[in-house]
């Protein structure tokens, strides 16, 4: 009797341990498989060849709806661009960008996120799990999909525009007892990293495009013309027919 009870106790204990172990698992699957597979071949530019990069705009879309982008995301993108060592300095949105010289590169960033949490399917699975008193937990997977497309548009000082794009997506698969808000952050972090790696890889290929010596400063479209009015010879008042500005006479 005692041996029988001991045997069943051990079997039950192992069973519970196995169920708890498999019921708490989670995994992240990325497309492309590894964000670190592509190496970024950075070339060291001479400091006088590097020009400043100024953030011009930053747009974030989530499932097609415009969102307010966070400064953390902007900082993360700028940090990755900084790692390429292509630019002398990076000026974030809203920062003072005066006295940077004529040769600057303007950056426009767009992030298009697509989130598919499979909410209704998760709710249905939840009802099934509740109905089974959680006994099916080790056998039912939940999924959360996240995809991102990061676009970086760089406009050179001479007006030449080049667009770079990094695309990645991922899925986190988890069991009920393995769910945590951190896994969503981890998934988003991995996908964003994959996008940025792809983006900076493309950017580094165009290193020569952003060297200061690659193009001269374009002729400015704003011209200053000074018009000096003649002193009127008569005392009659004159009326100008066009809105002109005349400098004050000495």
């Amino acid at each position: 009797m005692t041996r029988h009870a001991t045997r069943w106790s051990i079997v039950s204990f192992v069973g519970i341990l196995l169920c708890m172990n498999t019921g708490c698992t989670r995994s992240i699957e990325l497309k492309p498989a590894s964000p670190y597979s592509q190496s970024t071949d950075t070339r060291l530019l001479a400091s006088d060849e590097r020009v400043p990069l100024v953030m011009d705009s930053f747009h974030l879309l989530r499932n097609g709806a415009p969102q307010n982008p966070s400064t953390e995301t902007e900082r993360r993108i700028l940090n990755r661009v900084q790692e390429t060592r292509l630019f002398s300095t990076l000026i974030p949105l809203g920062a003072q960008s005066d006295s940077l010289g004529d040769k600057i590169v303007s950056a426009r960033i767009t992030i298009d996120e697509t989130i598919e949490p499979h909410s209704w399917l998760s709710a249905f699975k939840g009802i099934i799990l509740g109905g089974s008193m959680f006994l099916l937990s080790p056998f039912v997977d939940f999924e959360y999909d996240y995809a991102a497309k990061v676009g970086l548009e760089l406009e050179r000082w001479d007006g030449q525009v080049k667009r770079y794009e990094g695309v990645s997506s991922g899925t986190v698969q988890y069991k009920l007892f393995g769910a945590t808000p951190v896994m969503i952050d981890e998934l988003k972090g991995h996908v964003t990293e994959a996008c940025l790696t792809e983006l900076t890889t493309q950017l580094v290929r165009d290193t020569t495009l952003y060297m200061a010596s690659s193009a001269p400063t374009s002729a400015s479209g704003v011209r200053t013309v000074t018009v000096r009015a003649k002193r009127p010879s008569t005392t009659f008042p004159t009326r100008s027919t066009a809105p002109t500005t005349t400098p004050s006479l000495p």
Binding site: P117, S119, S122, A123, G126, G130, F134, F142, Y144, A179
Partner: protein, 200 residues
Amino acid sequence: MTWVAHIAATVMIYLIMTAPIAQADDGSPTITVGTQEVGMTAGYMFSHRLTELHTTKQHGPAVMPSWMITLTDPIGDSWYRGQISLGAEMVYLEFREPIVTHGIGFTPRIKYTFVALGRLRPYAEFTGGPFWTDLGGRIREQANEFNFILSGGVGVSWFITPQLAFNAGYRFHHISNAGTAFPNLGLNASLPFGGFSFYF
């Protein structure tokens, strides 16, 4: 016992006094997939005799510690925008009438929380599971001790911080044995409750 009540009252007053500061700093709670909730709820049960055959006027206190996990991000774009959580609950009932007896059960619990109102979050919930009580067999409605308990109700959570919420609501309880023994008239009761939840 008095000093326990004093401490509880002091803690309550402190939480209420500091609530506006927490709201100004943190705003509405951010509850996402995987957010867990641990709660403690207590209430008092009042019987409903739905037929002439029901004679037992059971009533007494109830205590319900619970755990839940959020399954979905907010669903929908209108007033019904909300999230689904799944969890489990222990329910302890003390029947003071007709004789002092006890009941304990374990029930899965599913909850839909409306999130459109920010820190004030109404919800609807449903629980059901096995329930043991020594009241069974001593009354004419229920023949045996092993029963099932089903409950459905509505409530509202007020988040005083993004992690802490006070809850209040109403549940309708039904206890019966699913036809495993006769008689099986079932015990029905109303249960107004209050409690708190901690989110992490």
